[in-house]
């Protein structure tokens, strides 16, 4: 077995006595998509926010390529090439697409000033690849449609050569056409050897896009299964009842 790209071991975090994540371990290999499934409040978003640096675990450890790392904030996560597409998209609505794409990592001129023209040019390039219909480069992202906003958030994660990509409900706000676009993108990123954590509560999505699925319930890990080994009903049983399917190695 190769060394996993990411290994989260025995992670715990609690908020005011509630064990949001309770001794959970998950891992992710290069070129693999691992689904994180569970009800609202199962702890999947919280778990992943520990990896992206938004929260800090009370205990447990994170290994990247087998080496133990400390992730104290989103900057640390980014320095390990962990990029996140948040469910809320985390866009500053008053800024344009380029400003959002480069937020926190602006391109600067030799004088140290923000180089808006260069950033817009780069944004145009990546958008031509991700969403060729995208044209609103000078307007604030509040003026964009849901799908366009999503493509800005995706572009931000993809542009900086992520090795590990976290996608929190990437298709929740999208129409069928855009969902298809995200599915194609995931295949493309997989082929590039990027590891993806996909948070979803759409079982159909997970069965189609993921290689493995980790199911959580009430902050605990129910099990990790190969999606080829289970049916939709098996996954549903894990999500709703916290029951491991029989005869499957979890």
């Amino acid at each position: 077995m190769t060394t996993p790209l990411v290994e989260m071991r025995d992670i715990c975090i609690s908020f005011g006595g509630v064990h949001a994540v309770d001794h959970v371990s998950v891992d992710l290999h290069p070129g693999e998509v691992v689904g994180l499934l569970g009800h609202n409040g199962a702890g999947k978003s919280t778990l992943i926010k520990i990896l992206s640096g938004a929260y800090q675990a009370d205990s447990g450890e994170i290994l990247i390529n087998g080496e133990k790392v400390e992730i104290h904030n989103p900057r640390d996560a980014r320095s390990h090439q962990i990029e996140t597409i948040y469910q809320t998209l985390a866009l500053a609505d008053n800024l344009d697409a380029a400003s959002n794409l480069f937020l926190g990592r602006e391109l600067v001129t030799p004088f140290g000033l923000v180089d808006d023209d260069a950033m817009e040019a780069e944004t145009r390039k990546i958008m031509a690849r991700l969403n060729p219909n995208f044209q609103k480069f000078s307007e604030p992202v509040s003026a964009l449609s849901g799908g366009q906003r999503q493509s800005v958030a995706i572009a931000r994660a993809v542009y900086f050569n992520a090795r590990i990509l976290i996608m929190d409900e990437p298709t929740a706000a999208l129409g069928p056409h855009e969902t298809q676009m995200v599915a194609e993108l995931i295949q493309q990123l997989k082929a590039d050897g990027i590891g993806i954590f996909l948070i979803s509560h759409d079982i159909h999505d997970v069965m189609e896009l993921c290689d493995r699925a980790s199911v959580m319930k009430n902050g605990k890990l129910v099990g990790v299964v190969d999606v080829d080994d289970v049916t939709d009903d098996d996954l549903l049983g894990m999500i709703i009842l916290g029951k491991k399917p029989e005869g499957v190695d979890c």
Partner: protein, 432 residues
């Protein structure tokens, strides 16, 4: 012109004209309101409002509030507020007054009007303002006390620190060189003003050219050439017109006579000398340019607006929003200190009530200038224009002879009305 505009109405064509120039319609509305205000007062006062003398006075009266308003833009953009700016100005003014009249001449033995006195004083004042501002920012950012409370407390504390330091006495007269930052006591004269005007015009034209070149380099669409010429023409005539107006204000003959008498010379017949651009206005212009660059072209500025638009997104993008809060309030403090230099120098002494109610004027200027209290939106030039509108309204009414209570009532009503118009405008245009 896009296809769907072929049968556009005259109004739509007019919009197209301004859009081609890439001038913000909102800014245009404010300039329009300001012009109407000035012309209205000019009629009401029988032509006394738009004289070089009154424009000169209006300009130097606006500087202090305008300087602070530029900092208030950043504070409000990040969804905070600073109620302590007037009190902080008083404390900085008191510190600087004590430094230049007591500490440096007597304790350090430099004597009065020593060449170093004004500069040491200014450095000490700005350090004090920055430190106090940073402390406010620390309380807000790191200890998460709401800015409203921190600065409401600050208002009481710093107003009375100033009082305590000076025992409530008026401290003065201030250093002669220091007084040059106040306005009428420090101007460039005619030729100096023309030189500054020419340099500013050249800089504005170069800026336009440079922006166009950059856009072309990346292959972006640029404005038609005629639009660039129109913009350049507007900028040049505004700058040079302003210089000409200030140069048209002559030093009163009797004052000149006294100057010549003091030097033991005889004033030539028909000798005139114009004031030109006050140094305090140059300070404001420098700050306006600096703050605009900060807002638009630096990472700090980008993070300020991003945090105002969506604090969570800023945090998740790796921006240290706590430290950012400290920096914003520190900057506000530094600007209060600079305003304190201008305000006390203009009065030629530090008085106990200096800067009283300035917090309200500063916030009003920023808000009238289009800074949204919901955060994320605001411009530096808007805030300065807001300060100018407030000051024109106030002094215009005073010239017309409106009673003081009525003046305040009108200013208060205008503030509320301006925000209402802004809300309606944003709804119509669907802007953020």
């Amino acid at each position: 012109m896009p296809q769907h505009d072929t049968n556009a109405l005259p109004t739509a064509q007019k919009r197209g004209f301004f859009q081609t120039l890439e001038i913000d319609l909102r800014l245009l509305g404010m300039v329009g309101a300001f012009v109407i205000l000035c012309i209205g007062f000019d009629f009401a006062t029988g032509g006394r409002f738009l004289t070089p003398r009154n424009i000169f006075n209006l300009t130097i009266q606006t500087v202090s509030v305008a300087i602070m308003a530029t900092g208030m833009v950043f504070v409000i953009v990040t969804r905070h507020i600073d109620l302590s700016v007037g009190a902080l100005l008083a404390t900085c003014s008191a510190i600087m007054a004590m430094t230049q009249t007591q500490f440096l001449p007597q304790v350090l033995g430099l004597g009065f009007d020593h060449a170093l006195t004004p500069w040491i004083t200014i450095v000490i004042g700005v350090i004090a303002g920055t430190a106090i501002g940073a402390f406010h920012g620390f309380l807000v950012g790191y200890l998460t006390i709401p800015a409203f409370i921190v600065t409401l407390g600050g208002l009481l504390v710093w107003r009375n620190v100033a009082w305590y330091m000076t025992s409530g006495k008026t401290i003065g007269p201030l250093d002669t060189t220091f007084q040059k930052f106040g306005g009428i006591n420090g101007t460039l004269g005619a030729s100096g003003s023309w030189i500054v005007g020419a340099l500013a015009t050249a800089a504005a034209l170069f800026g336009l050219l440079n922006a166009r070149r950059n856009k072309l380099k990346h292959g972006f669409a640029v404005k038609p050439l005629w639009a660039e010429y129109v913009l350049g023409g507007i900028a040049a005539s505004a700058i040079l017109g302003f210089v000409a107006t200030l140069n048209a204000y002559d030093v009163p003959t009797r004052k000149l006579q006294r100057l010549f008498d003091a030097r033991g010379e005889v004033m030539p017949e028909g000798f005139t000398q114009s004031y030109g651009i006050p140094i305090s206005v140059l300070v404001l212009i420098a700050i306006a340019i600096g703050m605009t660059i900060l807002a638009r072209r630096t990472r700090l500025g980008r993070y300020i607006f991003a945090t105002g638009g969506n604090p969570d997104a800023a945090e998740l993008s790796g921006i240290n929003t706590r430290l950012l809060t400290v920096k914003i309030f520190a900057l506000m403090g530094a600007l209060c200190a600079i305003s304190a230099i201008v305000a006390s120098a203009r009065l030629t002494n530090h008085s106990n009530d200096i800067g009283t109610l300035d917090e309200l004027r500063v916030i009003a200027a920023a808000v009238i200038g289009g800074t949204a209290l919901a955060g994320g939106v605001g411009t530096i030039h808007g805030a300065i224009l807001g300060a100018l509108i407030m000051q024109s309204l106030q002094s215009g009414m005073a010239m017309v002879g409106v009673d003081a209570p009525l003046q305040n009532i009108v200013v208060g009503a205008v503030l509320v009305l301006a925000v209402l118009i802004d809300i309606i405008y944003r709804k119509r245009t669907g802007g953020a």
